[in-house]
């Protein structure tokens, strides 16, 4: 009998409360998506070549898992609380009919376990479907190809999901059951009426509100003007200011709304005052959860933009120049390259000539520093002048031959560099990570920079082209040239003692091979042959690929956390709102009795929902604008190659998605509330 009752209760709950059930499933999907990261195609592949990096990343996963557990706990807690508030009368009746408290407690726990099992049965397949699609999509995106795709069910992830889910559910349920079972039957049977009206004196409210605004403005100013690089204490101070500011803002907002109602109510009719007072009350009673939701949304927006920035940054700047750089004696390299199999796999292969300047005559860069001095002063410009001056008079500045640099430009489809006899071009790899560097240098070069070769009597002057170059010249990003000059071949052969020996051979894989096999597979095949040949080489995967791996995974994880925060913030908002609305049922009945129409009530309810969301979203959006602004101007700079249009387009797309998600949530709440209003019947008035 007892178990039959548990069965029928859970069935009824699922039917009545789709939202609650959806919350549980979201929690499961969130856990599994994170925990199954290791078994994703890309991860499994990288594990074979970069096991160290993958291992380090996997150490991060448990930490994020604990963070998710913490947040999902709140999600589940509010979902259960909403459900139990709906059933309090039922619990009261059980107690009145003689059910022992311990038995009621046991019944609730059994229901939780049953609900959990059912949610897991429904949630795990959804989670599998989702992770498999993510796995396929990322595999395709990074060029792994879908041939190697394996359908995997990670047992560890399933166990971790079930464990975490049960833990969170039981913790939430134990707290709630304990609370409800301790209540007197009379208190349970009485519908929970609105809590005692809280009133905040106008002056105190305004004071708190303005304190909040000042804290927020202080955080904004510090974030934008002072946070140039990541500094722990300053960042902490900004965070504390921002968090306290948001809490104080919501704490004092009630008084502010009260003032607005007082000001306008004289001329308004209908439910204007009621709607305003409802909003004011929700702010007064729920200022903490409003602030928490708003901060969670801010966190979500920040995480998602960080993820997008990282993703775009990595794809934008790290353009693939070549797949391998081979080093070694010419004859060994040529022997390898001439093999038919290798030729079939190769699109192009060109020698890269670069070496240090080895002449007795001095090569002076004063012309470049002088040009830099004409540019408006900034700390970066001064740094540049200082470091170039220190190289001045150096006789071992690196030179790159024009023809090999042009081969590189040709292979990536860019326009070739044209140099006259007395012209050189400025090259710096450092500028790939700093758009300001490029900006300042090009501004300086446009004023007419030059390089001079002096041997005491004669001086040869070479004009520096107004455009600078920063493409990576080898497959591995680890080799970084701070500064070099691209010179015409005649000069290169004149100035370099052994001009016939290339620094390395850059090899680009056949496009068809990449198309058919996927980039990573193709690289892996060539890698096998190269390591068998005994040649010394660097591969794209070993350098840029590794960085790409870190950036892609960190952007994946931050987007994951962002989406999780977004879901949780919205769920908390919805459930808090619906719980509160439930308590207000009697008010709507009173209004019906006083002659309000249901449509009018429905409209008032819709305005309340819109205003309620607006209060949370506007503060979150305002905070997010400043947070993201200061993030991108401080520790997260977009690399020079990253297209700003792409970032903006992605940011707009992400923002539209965010708005759409919010609209979906708003319409869910609105729909549910409207149904509640339409189900009101004046006859309920006399009950209780």
């Amino acid at each position: 009998m007892f178990f039959r009752q548990i069965l029928s209760n859970t069935k009824k709950n699922r039917k009545d409360n789709g939202l609650f059930f959806a919350t549980l499933i979201i929690a499961i999907v969130a856990f599994y998506t994170l925990l199954s990261l290791e078994s994703q195609d890309v991860m499994r592949f990288l594990n074979t070549i970069e096991s160290d990096a993958v291992r380090k990343l996997m150490l991060l996963v448990p930490l994020i898992y604990v963070v998710s557990l913490f947040f999902v706990f709140f999600l589940v807690y509010f979902a259960y609380r909403y459900q139990m508030e709906n059933r309090r009368k039922e619990f009261g009746l059980y107690l009145m009919l003689g059910m022992k408290r311990s038995r009621l407690f046991l019944m609730l726990i059994c229901e939780t376990v049953l609900n959990s099992i059912l949610s897991i049965l429904a949630g795990i397949p959804i989670a599998l479907l989702l992770t498999e699609s993510i796995s396929l999509a990322t595999a395709r995106l990074v060029g792994l190809g879908i041939i190697g795709h394996q359908f995997t069910v990670s047992l560890n992830a399933v166990l971790g999901t079930i464990g975490g889910f049960f833990l969170v559910q039981l913790a939430a349920m134990l707290i709630l059951s304990f609370r409800f079972c301790r209540m007197e039957p009379a208190a349970l049977l009485r519908p929970e009426t609105e809590t005692v009206q809280k009133t905040v004196s106008g002056k105190r409210g305004f004071f708190v509100f303005f304190c909040g605004v000042i804290c927020l403005i202080a955080a904004y100013i510090m974030g934008i003007f002072l946070l140039n690089t990541f500094r722990f204490t300053l960042t902490l101070l900004i965070l504390i200011c921002g968090i306290i500011g948001t809490f104080l803002l919501y704490r004092g907002l009630g008084a502010f709304i009260g003032q607005i109602i007082q000001k306008h109510k004289a001329k308004k009719t209908g439910l204007y005052t009621f709607t305003g007072r409802q909003i004011q009350e929700s702010v007064l009673h729920q200022h903490t959860s409003l602030a928490v939701s708003s901060l969670l949304l801010l966190l979500a927006l920040a995480c998602i933009s960080f993820g997008i920035g990282m993703g775009v940054g990595s794809t934008g700047s790290e353009r693939r120049i070549c797949d391998f750089s081979l080093m070694g004696l010419d004859e060994d390299v040529n022997a390898f390259l001439n093999k038919e199999e290798i030729q079939n796999m190769t699109e192009t292969c060109y020698p890269m000539y670069l070496d240090k300047y080895h002449m007795d005559t001095k090569l002076s860069l004063t012309g470049i520093t002088q040009a830099l001095e004409k540019v408006p002063q900034s700390s970066l410009r001064d740094n540049m002048i200082e470091s170039i001056s220190s190289k001045d008079e150096w006789q071992d500045i690196t030179l790159i031959s024009q023809s090999s640099f042009n081969s590189l430009l040709r292979s990536i489809g860019e326009e070739e560099l044209v140099l006259e006899k007395d012209q050189v071009a400025f090259y710096s790899r450092i500028s790939a990570d700093s758009p300001e560097f490029v900006q300042i240098m090009e501004a300086a070069l446009q004023t007419g920079a030059y390089v001079e070769q002096t041997d005491g009597q004669t001086t040869r002057r070479f004009e520096v082209l107004p455009r600078m170059y920063y493409n990576n010249i080898v497959a591995d990003r680890a080799i970084t040239l701070y500064m070099a000059l691209i010179v015409p071949d005649e000069l290169y052969f004149e100035w370099i003692p052994e001009p016939d020996t290339p620094f390395c051979w850059n090899l680009c894989l056949d496009e068809d091979l990449i198309q058919n096999q996927g980039l990573l597979q193709a690289i892996l095949q060539m890698d096998e042959r190269l390591s068998a040949s005994g040649l010394e080489y660097d591969s794209y995967l070993g350098g840029i690929g590794r960085t790409l791996f870190y950036t892609v995974t960190s952007s994946y994880l931050s987007i994951y956390l962002g989406v999780l925060f977004l879901l949780i913030a919205n769920m908390v908002l919805i459930l808090k709102y619906l719980i509160w609305q439930k308590k207000n049922r009697r008010r709507y009945l009173t209004l019906l009795m006083l002659g309000a129409e249901k449509e009018e009530l429905s409209r008032s309810m819709a305005s309340q929902i819109h205003l309620y969301y607006l209060l949370v979203l506007s503060v979150a959006a305002c905070n997010a604008i400043f947070a993201i602004w200061s993030m991108f101007t401080s520790f997260m700079r977009l690399p020079a190659g990253a297209s700003i249009q792409l970032v903006i387009a992605l940011a707009i797309a992400a923002f539209i998605c965010f708005i759409l998600v919010e609209l979906v949530y708003i319409s869910i709440v609105q729909h549910k509330s409207r149904r509640d209003i339409l189900s009101l019947h004046v006859a309920e008035w006399t009950e209780n």
Partner: protein, 259 residues
Amino acid sequence: MNTNRILQVQNITKIYGKGVNQTTALSGISFDVLEVEFLGIMCGSGSGKTTLLNCISTMLKPTTGKILLNGDDISSFKGKSLANYRGNKIGYLYQSFELLDNLTARENIILPLSLHGVSNQNAEKALSSLAMHLDITDVLDKFPSQMSGGQKQRTAAARAFISDPDIVLADEPTGALDSKNAWVLLDKLSTLNREENKTIVMVTHDANAASYCSRILFIQDGTIFHELRKNTKNETPAMFYERIMTVIAQLGGGSANVL
């Protein structure tokens, strides 16, 4: 005395359930409420008081019979006219006050007017006169949680009277009040009835409260069982109370004992 009939309850019956589960709550009640009357309806528990009140306030439809307000059948009201009836033609006063506790007293009182498109500015005149009559001028800007029970009920009374309804239904208005506050409220209601010509129908089982009425109907088992009229010129509430108590004492013995 004015003999205009504001409300006519014509032979209404209300039967709940079907077949063998039928329960008769009202079995053919008829009475009229005259203009400027303070009518009391006294009944014991389960005698159909709530059903009768619910029928008058359109919360329930009677199984048979009609209820006419100024000659209009209230069961024909729908949509706007129903909302208008609830908000403008009838005022309510309930035992548990039913004030919205997130609105101030002033906002609660003018709510019925706001709902019918009267701006708060225009409602101010009616509000200040009622607040003075009911002695709640000082608490107009307070929230219900900051008021005493008596003040809350008088605020609820002001809300019931603000739209100048044809009739005010009061359901055990003194039920949640101590005797002093109950006395103050009844005195105010009675003054409003006499001086401002308001029509009030009050359901109560408290003989003391009923003694403020000008006429009392006794209902038992779904039918009208007895009627008492107060001699408004000579009879004090105390004397009327004596008569009421006599009827109540005899109620236990059935209709044969009533004179």
